[in-house]
């Protein structure tokens, strides 16, 4: 894939930071965790940040006139600032804490979409998308009569940008909503190019960063995008915390999302005036401890470096793809090249992916099998499901070896011949 020599990660040392690897599964087998596209494991620093917040800093934020509350507020806002720097945001107020990527995309649909889109307006998405970047637009189509268009892929699993250009040229496209990295195929989409095309046509660009922010260096200004959604739990952080980023001017012009405490300036019996950005979008008590722990996750990732993590995953892909290709009856999906993330979807003969995953599980190998919340993509590929292995910074070649050995065992059990 790439000829450049990676900065070698010290994987043994990284693994020592992740307590989960001390346990075994299925009667004493070491854990081979190849499902980081679903959720990542957590380093001890994140676990300690989460527990430590409750142990020493726990109080509600922004209102208490006492030391603990001030401290909790400071730590919450420090986490916001750290996340902002991590993705190259111009200011920390551009970071809205939400639960996850799904909530972030829904917030865009419910605030920007509901205030700016009229019947006949077009949102362009793609067949690569996770359901979370499809269903909110279908909902707006049902409620407001907007039109949702889908950019197809070619047979290598790459987006048909020519189709995107046709939509942008011929239809009133107001938003292009596309994933940065496909969770099912690992395709890395050309975001800079998509941003240029969208902006030339006067459309905004929403990027689903759930699979990219944890794995690639991201700079929202350099990429020239308008909305970025991502989840903490896929980037070493805890469940229940995610981020919507948008440019400050864009956020400032949007109506609130949920109504309640924290998001207002004033409330009277006659009505309310919304608060400033980002408080306007964070009604109710937020997941303070989870945000603080996400800050610790970002700190961990920054210490290792996203470029080094990306290089490590490329090396694992280079190691895995040829070895997997030799397995009888295997069919590998997704592009081969520099635009491929550490996600490998495959089918094995006519064995159902659930059976493949069940055999792998008996060998301690954790993978995902199913439609990966990408039913339109599965239909496009002509399959009901695939088995998916996905890498992160704590995986190493031994994991690939155990995957390959277990897949050969599945072939033997089910009589798949070469």
């Amino acid at each position: 894939m790439t000829a450049s020599k990676p900065v070698q990660l010290d994987v043994a040392r990284i693994r020592a930071d992740f307590p989960i690897f001390q346990r075994t599964v299925r009667d004493g087998k070491p854990l081979v965790y190849l499902d980081s596209a679903a959720t990542s494991q957590k380093p001890v620093s994140v676990i300690e940040a989460l527990a430590g917040f409750y142990r020493t800093s726990n109080a509600n934020i922004h209102r208490g006139i006492y030391e603990l509350s001030e401290e909790a507020s400071i730590r919450y806002e420090e986490a916001r600032a750290r996340v902002a720097r991590f993705i190259g945001a111009a200011r920390s107020e551009e970071i809205v804490f939400v639960r996850n990527t799904t909530e972030a995309i829904n917030m865009v649909a419910r605030t920007w979409g509901a205030s700016r889109l009229r019947a006949g307006d077009v949102v362009v998405t793609t067949v690569l998308e996770h359901h979370s970047n499809i269903v909110p637009w279908h909902q707006l189509a049902a409620e407001r009569g907007i039109v949702v268009r889908f950019v197809d892929i070619d047979d290598t699993g790459r987006l048909r940008l020519d189709q995107l250009e046709t939509f942008l040229r011929n239809e009133p496209v107001k938003l292009v909503a596309v994933t940065h990295v496909s969770n099912a195929l690992g395709t890395i989409n050309p975001v800079r190019e998509i941003a240029r095309l969208a902006h030339e046509a006067g459309a905004l660009l929403l990027i689903d960063g759930a699979q990219s922010v944890p794995h690639l260096p991201i700079d929202v200004r350099e990429l020239s995008i308008d909305f970025l959604a991502f989840s903490g739990h896929k980037m070493l952080g805890p469940f229940g915390i995610g981020v919507l980023w948008a440019r400050y001017e864009l956020l400032s012009a949007l109506p609130p999302f949920l109504g309640g405490g924290g998001m207002i300036r004033t409330v009277t019996t006659e009505g309310f005036t919304p608060g400033d950005v980002p408080a306007r979008f964070e009604a109710g008590t937020p997941s303070v401890a989870d945000a603080v722990a996400l800050g610790a996750a970002v700190e961990y990732l920054e210490a290792i470096g996203l470029a080094a993590i990306r290089q490590h995953e490329v090396s694992l892909l280079d190691y895995a793809l040829p070895r997997l290709a030799e397995i009888p009856g295997i069919r590998l999906y997704g592009p081969v090249g520099a635009d491929r993330a550490g996600v490998i979807s495959f089918t094995l003969g006519d064995i159902h992916p659930h059976d493949v995953a069940a055999i792998l599980d008996t060998h301690g190998v954790a993978v995902r099998a199913g439609h990966h919340c990408t039913q339109p993509l599965m239909r496009r590929l002509g399959v009901t499901a695939t088995t998916r292995a996905s890498f992160y910074l704590y995986n190493w070649e031994a994991d690939v070896d155990r995957l390959v050995a277990a897949l050969r065992e599945a072939c033997r059990v089910f009589g798949v011949a070469g």
Binding site: I351, H352, H354, D355, A358, T362, H371, T384, V413
Partner: protein, 126 residues
Amino acid sequence: MSDLYREQILDHYQNPRNYGTLDHPDRSFEDSNPLCGDRIRIDLKIADDRIVDIRFSGRGCAISQASASILTELVKGKSLDEVRELGAQDLLDELGVPISPARRKCALLSLKVLKAAAYGLNEWPS
């Protein structure tokens, strides 16, 4: 060899019994698990409230298909009253392998389809 894929399961998956369709079934029903794509159809021939012939067809994971094959052997010749008494655990016992919560719907799809075909009860067997 893993516990889940003991010889009996693989044998029924690879050589399904009573596989196919009936030309003029008295009852017929088909259902699927949309999450995993398992699909089962069952055709019944009924005489004197008894299942005198049965065929299943479908596609999906080994557990769902082997379970259907085993179920057809279990109920062929049985009365509809006996089928009514058949519970989820009875079929799970017949399979003879540990079924995890995630695979329960694979294992029980055939029984669900059979009960819908036999007496129109379209719900997950308990």
